[in-house]
């Protein structure tokens, strides 16, 4: 079979931001009538590539060819007119309007400036019908679940190609993580729509963190890492272990070298026991035991449910099944307060939005958790407060070592240390660290890892989440492996636990 001409070809794409080279010479091809997965971990450059393609970001180098002609997009609306449509994970529609209006808003059929409602509804119904969907277009969008809203978003973007809503105009459809909050049946419905569009010759670029879905629906995949292309393969030609290797990036033997066990003293008695804890749309019910002084590392790809699991154990999201027992006492987990009072601490991966109060000083941010647990009537005495803050600024080497500095002005690594200090001051029994080393420099990274080791030696349990496998392997007594929102295995760390073994577990999704 002769390979057809690609509908979209991006060559040597370069995109730079001040201080960051987000994409360095990436090539990408998309063929008509195929579903093409774009894969990569955090910071690999997936989002940037899509934004460059859709005209959100300008191009710093390289060429884009659409249907054989060289193009350059300056705005998302230009891209749409050229036949490239994008549907994001968060549905960008207006929930207060009807389905039909959402499909047509901005290009409603009018006569003498008057909207022709009947025609609008009829055309919307026809379009929905032609795509094999069964949706009442007169109902408000908000009356439908998210999954259907997503389908409507696709219908809108497919219909955007030309004013008549024939759908013939859309050549490329970009689906950016459309499945992350859908359940299995909803995903199937989405896939059915994708296949229909594929049969009509639309090229679909599909971004998803679910490996099973990639292998189920995609024909071809492109893997990015650190802003470079690391491979383009037919899905049928690359198995899951190979794919994960490409994504995580170190060749296996290289990983083995980094992997030196520094297992510490034996862990203590049981601290936290989770039985069947889960949340719909979060992570499937899981059992987990955490012992005193134990470091549990969570391994899994981006979007595999690592963060969701941690949030459930902290009560940041409320579990809708299962029980959590801490220190022999069942905890209700209806709010973070419940977990905090039992000695659980949680450093979110989103430092800015879920961690720091940027306007407050380093000192105020550090004492916030301790003060919250004391209540407003019992302020920490000034002398004790200053001593504590000075102690932790010194111990964690927070710079500038000025407790009066605004925390918003600190570097990422120092902000992370402020968050750590905030929780260490409360002397928690279990410290949950979600990607504590993300986006910080290498020195700070090593310091934080050392800190985790010494904390566990002092008897503190740590739940450690990191994108890098070797980081997890080096620090953890036990490694929880997640895949597609499920805790699929818990491996006791030891000589026989190798990166290969973990990769295989992630890839196969089975208990060993």
């Amino acid at each position: 079979m002769a390979e057809p001409q690609p509908v979209l070809e991006m060559t040597g794409i370069v995109k730079e931001f001040p201080g960051v080279r987000a994409l360095s010479g990436v090539d990408f091809r998309l063929f008509p009538g195929e579903i093409h997965a774009l894969l990569g971990e955090n910071g690999a450059g997936k989002s940037t590539l899509i934004k460059v393609l859709t005209g959100v970001h300008s191009l710093d180098g390289g060429t884009i060819t659409l249907s054989g002609t060289s193009v350059r997009f300056d705005s998302p609306s230009q891209t749409q007119q050229a036949g490239i449509s994008t549907v994001y994970q968060e549905v960008n529609l207006c929930p207060n309007l009807s389905v039909a209006e959402n499909i047509f808003i901005g290009r409603e059929p009018t006569r003498f400036g008057r909207i022709q409602w009947k025609r609008l509804r009829r055309e919307a119904a026809e379009l929905v019908d032609r795509l094999g969907l069964d949706i009442d277009v007169t109902a408000p969008l908000s009356s439908y679940p998210l999954a259907v809203q997503q389908l409507v978003a696709i219908v809108r973007s497919v219909g955007t190609g030309d004013a008549d809503g024939q759908g013939a105009g859309t050549k490329v459809l970009i689906l950016d993580e459309p499945t992350s909050s859908l359940d299995r049946d909803e995903v199937l419905e989405l896939f059915a729509l994708m296949r229909r569009l594929k049969d009509q010759g639309v090229a679909i670029l599909f971004v998803s963190h679910f490996l099973d879905q990639i292998y189920e629906i995609c024909d071809r995949m492109t893997v990015l890492r650190n802003g470079t292309l690391v491979g383009e393969h037919m899905v049928s030609e690359l198995d899951q272990v190979g794919l994960i290797q490409l994504m995580i990036g170190k060749a296996l033997d290289q990983l083995e070298e980094l992997h030196d066990h520094q297992l510490r003293s034996d862990v203590g008695e049981s601290l936290l026991q989770a039985d069947g804890v889960g949340r719909v749309g979060g992570v499937a019910p899981f059992d987990l035991e955490i012992k005193k002084g134990e470091v549990i590392g969570l391994a899994g790809l981006l979007g595999s449910g690592r963060t969701e699991l941690a949030r459930l154990l902290f009560g940041a999201d409320q579990p809708d099944s299962g029980t959590v027992t801490i220190g022999g006492k069942q905890v209700s987990m209806s709010a973070p307060n419940d977990a905090i009072s039992e000695g659980v601490a949680f450093c979110s991966e989103n430092r800015k939005t879920e961690g720091l109060v940027p306007d407050l000083t380093v000192r105020e941010n550090i004492i916030l958790a301790l003060q919250a647990s004391r209540g407003w009537t019992r302020p920490i005495p000034v002398a004790q407060r200053d001593e504590l803050v000075a102690k932790y600024i010194k111990a964690l080497d927070i710079r500038p070592a000025n407790p009066e500095a605004r925390v918003g002005q600190l570097s990422g690594g120092n902000q992370q240390k402020v968050l750590l200090a905030r929780w260490l001051i409360t002397q928690p029994k279990l410290l949950i660290l979600d990607e504590p080393t993300r986006g910080i420099d290498i020195g700070a990274k090593a310091e934080i890892q050392k800190l985790v080791v010494s904390l566990s030696e002092d008897g503190m349990a740590v739940l450690y989440i990191a994108a890098e496998l070797e980081e997890v392997l080096r620090l953890s007594h036990t490694i929880g492996v997640l895949r597609d929102r499920k805790l699929v295995a818990q491996l006791a760390n030891g000589p026989e636990i190798t990166p290969t073994r973990i990769l295989e577990t992630i890839a196969s999704g089975e208990h060993q």
């Binding site: 910071g43 994001y88 919250a372």
Partner: protein, 370 residues
């Protein structure tokens, strides 16, 4: 430039600009009223422009101080004017029903009743905002609309006049040569500062207003804190209501405290507290309220028709808000001022996303999907 570090430190102090504006406004008066700063002693009372500015500004300072805490949590309270009217109406109507209007016990009881009503209003606002999750502007609109009706109901649509010496003291009397209301204001401000800075209340309020989600994840019970600040704000408004009705010895359900909520919000903003919540400054608010009162006085003394007062106020609102708007600063001053690091939002506004390289490598922030 020859800016010494000390000068820089001074100009960067959060009170610098409010105080500078106040001083300039005060100085403007001197050419028109050469004895503007002089204070005379007559009948054992101190008189002078400065004394009257503080005296007439007292109710506004009180209301604005309460408003500061509400705004710091990211809220707003539009009902304070109505609370002023209700408190004054209740207290005066109780006193006027007494056989002996000057009996201390009756006056105290009357004030107690008035303040309890204020607290009830505050609880209601706090309940709607913190418990029901209704936007503060909307929630407090209810009492703003209905409150004046209630006040008129209490006074039966009349202006109730009272003739009570002890009650007159609060808003119109003198003590130790100074207007008594200055002592009331000083006491309330001192209590507020102590309450917010001697306890951890101030920190928790700033945290809730600065980053609500982070505050939740750190275990702050923001519901209680919010209810508390609305109650406190209403209580301050209640005291202001006592002061206003005492000053005129009358309760006017219709006009007492009219527009005071707007002046109070303005005072808070001039004082440097952002309407978005977070960091607050009680001192700044007091200065801000004094600026507004001085503006009124100045317009009067320099001979500009007093009716232009409102036009000036409008100009001040616009200028202060434009100066606080990062977008305006970026457009007008270019990059010189820059935007505040870690400014609010981050909800993936495209303008911000383009300027921020981090947004390119991190997944788009989740937006609320209803």
């Amino acid at each position: 430039m020859t800016t010494t570090p000390r000068w820089r430190a001074l100009t960067h102090h959060h009170l610098f600009w409010p105080v500078a504006v106040l001083v300039i406004l005060l100085l403007v008066n001197v050419p028109f009223t050469p004895d503007f700063f002089s204070i005379k002693m007559t009948d054992g009372h101190l008189y002078g422009s400065l004394v009257s500015i503080v005296l007439f500004g007292s109710p506004l300072i009180l209301v604005a101080v309460g408003m500061t805490l509400v705004i710091a949590t990211g809220g707003i309270d539009l009902s304070v004017g109505a609370v002023v009217a209700i408190t004054g109406a209740l207290t005066c109507s109780y006193i006027s029903d007494q056989a002996d209007q000057s009996a201390l016990s009756g006056v105290f009881l009357a004030m107690g009743i008035g303040l309890v009503a204020a607290v009830v209003c505050g609880l209601w606002n706090g309940f709607l905002v913190a418990r029901m999750g209704i936007q503060p502007i909307i929630a407090t609109l209810i009492i703003m609309v209905a409150g004046r009706g209630v006040a008129q109901l209490i006074t039966d649509g009349q202006i109730i006049t009272v003739n009570s010496e002890p009650y007159k003291l609060i808003g119109g009397g003198y003590w130790l040569t100074l207007p008594f209301s200055i002592f009331v204001v000083a006491a309330v401000v001192a209590v507020t500062v102590a309450l917010t800075r001697r306890t951890a209340l101030g920190l928790l309020v700033e945290s809730v207003g600065g980053n609500a989600e982070a505050s939740r994840l750190v275990g702050i019970r923001s519901m209680r804190i919010k209810i508390m600040v609305y109650v406190f704000c209403a209580l301050c408004a209640g005291i202001a209501g006592l002061m206003i009705s005492s000053n005129t010895s009358a309760a006017d359900g219709n006009n007492a405290g009219l527009w005071i909520e707007l002046d109070a919000i303005l005072a808070v903003v001039i004082g440097g507290t952002s309407l978005l919540g977070g960091r607050f400054s009680i001192g700044g608010t007091v200065v801000g309220a004094l600026v507004i009162q001085t503006l009124t006085t100045t317009i009067y003394t320099i001979g500009v028709p007093t009716q232009t007062n409102l036009v000036f106020k409008a100009a001040v609102v616009i200028i202060v808000c434009l100066m606080q708007s990062p977008k305006f600063r970026a457009k007008v001053f270019g990059g010189r001022f820059g935007t505040k690091p870690g400014a609010k939002g981050g909800t993936g506004q495209p303008a911000a996303a383009q300027a921020e390289p981090a947004a390119a490598t991190e997944p788009a922030p989740k937006m609320e999907v209803s």
